[in-house]
């Protein structure tokens, strides 16, 4: 296994910058997820690491080597593709053996390694089948087997689960996580599904528009998103972002809505707002940090329930505040009906404040 370093990585197509000055380090044995909406440059970044497309500028280091100009075959990597890319004319056995044959290993050693990989992935009985005779999950597993059979320095995975149905996806998610824990493998994993990234990765790199937005552990990204994009992309249902105006009333800092209500801030939050360069402040709150009341409570803001979606464990309520959608999760034994008057109380400790112009998170110091 080895670590991977991307330094000021740039990829342009004509005047279009697909990847923009991306720098990050993947430690030896670390599971890193590249996550972002489609077109954010995450797959391009992965292909640059794999060497499938040439880089425009910057450096890629795998282990101790700069691999900028090396062929994919010389980078000591393995890749799992979204469509699995199994060789359709070859049996499962030959699919697994191919990378070893290409490295000119002796036949008995190939046989040993293929059988070992098949045993680990529990597919010994499938070895003689052709890929088209396998189910989606089995094909997925063969693709994984082909990657691990030759013990590469780094595993690259390009949305390996997105072609599976929901149930199988959850199952394979934990299998890949096990696979990482058992092998102590260095894995770079591309996904558009923030839930996959949050559940599997040691660290996640959130990308948007070719830029790296934030690179940290899922818990950190979840708790301290650096900007409004990351805040709204990570977490489901999405964080509610309410545009407000900062002002001072009776010596206290308050956020005022165009609708007329205002919210008094705690000391820490007030300091954040005072340090901002603009009066426009966006309040961010996750669904679980907003308390819903059926009657007026001091500090709670009146709103109207718009939709009510019971899911069993929790009930999701949507309301509008200052023109923004607010998601709230409540216990199912709280009775709410659409169009009913409700009062929302924000948790000052866990609320997020963003600069309304730069969209960056406000800091207290």
């Amino acid at each position: 296994m080895a670590h991977v370093v991307l330094k000021d990585l740039v990829k342009t197509y004509g005047s279009f910058k697909a990847v923009n000055d991306v720098s990050l380090t993947v430690n030896d044995g670390e599971f890193v997820a590249l996550v972002g909406p489609s077109g954010c440059g995450k797959t391009t970044t992965l292909n640059l690491v794999a060497g499938l497309i040439p880089i425009t500028s910057g450096d890629i280091v795998i282990g101790e080597r700069v691999v900028n100009d090396l062929d994919p075959k010389d980078r000591d990597i393995a890749m799992v593709f979204q469509n699995y890319a199994l060789y359709p004319q070859k049996s499962v056995y030959k699919n697994l053996a191919f990378p070893l044959q290409m490295r000119k290993l002796p036949r008995d050693e190939i046989d040993k390694k293929v059988k070992e990989a098949a045993r680990v992935l529990d597919m010994t009985h499938l070895l003689e089948r052709k890929p088209r005779e396998l189910s989606g999950g089995q094909q997925q597993r063969v693709a994984l087997g082909r990657a691990l059979v030759r013990d590469p320095a780094v595993f690259l995975m390009d949305e390996p689960l997105s072609n599976l149905d929901a149930k199988l996806r959850v199952q394979m998610r934990s299998e890949i996580k096990r696979f990482h824990q058992d092998l102590k493998a260095t894995i770079i994993y591309v996904t558009h599904d923030q839930l996959e990234a949050v559940t599997m990765a040691d660290r996640m790199a959130v990308m948007n528009g070719g830029y790296l937005q934030q690179y940290d552990s899922p818990a950190q990204v979840f708790a301290h998103p650096v900007n409004m994009f990351v805040a709204s992309f990570i977490g489901s249902p999405a964080m509610s972002l309410i545009p407000l105006e900062a002002s001072t009333a009776n010596g206290n800092t308050v956020l005022t809505s165009a609708e007329g209500w205002s919210l008094e801030l705690s000391q820490l939050n007030a300091r954040k707002v005072q340090r901002a360069k603009t009066k426009k402040v966006v309040l961010g709150a996750r669904h679980s940090t907003i308390k819903l009341h059926n009657s007026a409570v001091a500090g709670a803001i009146p709103a109207k329930a718009f939709t009510v979606e019971p899911t069993g464990d929790v009930t999701f309520v949507q309301a509008f505040l200052s023109g923004a959608i607010v998601n709230i999760s409540v216990s199912p034994n709280i009775a709410v009906a659409p169009d009913e008057q409700i009062w929302l109380e924000f948790d000052q400790e866990r609320m997020h404040l963003f600069d309304g112009e730069t969209e960056m998170a406000l800091k207290a110091n």
């Binding site: 075959k73 990597i77 890749m79 890319a85 060789y87 359709p88 004319q89 191919f98």
Partner: protein, 296 residues
């Protein structure tokens, strides 16, 4: 309630009848097509086993009184001059068609792959330039190509025919194969390259085997085109020992106009390689044509 059910079921029967009517019309049409294409072949076969006299009779003998393989024996006998000529023509045709086929596969495979996978300046223009040739009737190029062949000193050589047939066969071959390569996911090659193959190895070991049906279809197409071609062979070749089958048969039998069984036997033997090729490989041919046409 019952009236509604009745109307519904009556509507159903009527619809089924209409569908059946179309189906039968289709079948009848196919039968006519079959007769239209097969009858001349059958008549050719029957005539070829008649004696010279029986072939000229009117009303015709639908089935010869005394079927004979004499015409075939004569044509395949290297001892007499007819047999010598026929076998030489056959060999010439086989040579020209085979070389054309091999060359067109050798050129079309990498060309189609390049058109499918690489983006290079002038790619679209070149691709349409390749197809442009097929938008004109072949005869238009007869005189210019003849002049060109004379300048190149290729008149009266098989090389002139091979070159000409390539200019006809290659465009469609490239087009067919490009459709094939377009349907092979690029990730397969990428996977192979990551698994340790060079770009060329990925092509040879992974892409080539997957495109075998396309290559076979291309080969059949080139072979049949070259095998059947008449007008260029007629124009470019004048020496008897170089003639290909279509021209050779025509010239040979215009000198012996009465030998219809011989002519039919020769024609039958000429169509044998094509029919055999088609029967053996038609599966691939049809698949290639449809796969090239429909984008998945």
């Amino acid at each position: 309630m019952s009236t509604i059910a009745e109307t519904a079921s009556r509507g159903q029967t009527r619809r089924r009848m209409r569908v059946d009517g179309w189906r039968w019309a289709g079948r009848i049409f196919l039968v006519f097509m079959l007769l239209y294409t097969a009858l001349p072949m059958i008549w050719m076969l029957i005539t070829s086993i008649k004696s010279g006299f029986a072939a000229m009779q009117f009303p015709p003998q639908w089935w010869p009184d005394q079927p004979t393989l004499a015409s075939y024996q004569k044509l395949l006998d290297p001892q007499n001059s007819v047999g010598q000529d026929f076998l030489r023509f056959f060999w010439n045709s086989l040579f020209v068609s085979t070389v054309t086929t091999i060359l067109s596969v050798i050129v079309a495979v990498p060309a189609a792959y390049a058109f499918s996978r690489f983006s290079f300046p002038g790619r679209n223009f070149l691709f349409f330039a390749v197809l442009l040739r097929n938008m004109f009737p072949a005869v238009i190029f007869l005189v210019p190509l003849f002049i060109l062949m004379r300048v190149l000193g290729l008149v009266n050589t098989h090389g002139s025919l091979i070159l000409t047939y390539l200019t006809f066969g290659l465009p469609l071959a490239i087009w067919l194969l490009k459709g094939f390569y377009d349907n092979i996911p690029v990730q397969l090659e990428q996977a192979a390259r990551i698994d340790g193959a060079t770009r060329f190895q990925a092509f040879i070991l992974i892409v080539m085997p997957l495109s075998t049906p396309g290559i076979i279809a291309t080969a059949i197409y080139s072979f049949i085109g070259a095998w059947n071609e008449y007008i260029y062979a007629y124009t470019f070749l004048s020496k008897n020992e170089q003639l290909t089958l279509p021209v050779g048969i025509q010239r040979f039998f215009s000198e012996n106009t009465t030998d219809f069984p011989g002519l039919m036997a020769a024609s039958f033997m000429m169509s044998v390689p094509v029919v055999v090729l088609f029967l053996v490989l038609q599966r691939y041919f049809v698949r290639a044509l449809t796969e090239g046409a429909v984008k998945h």
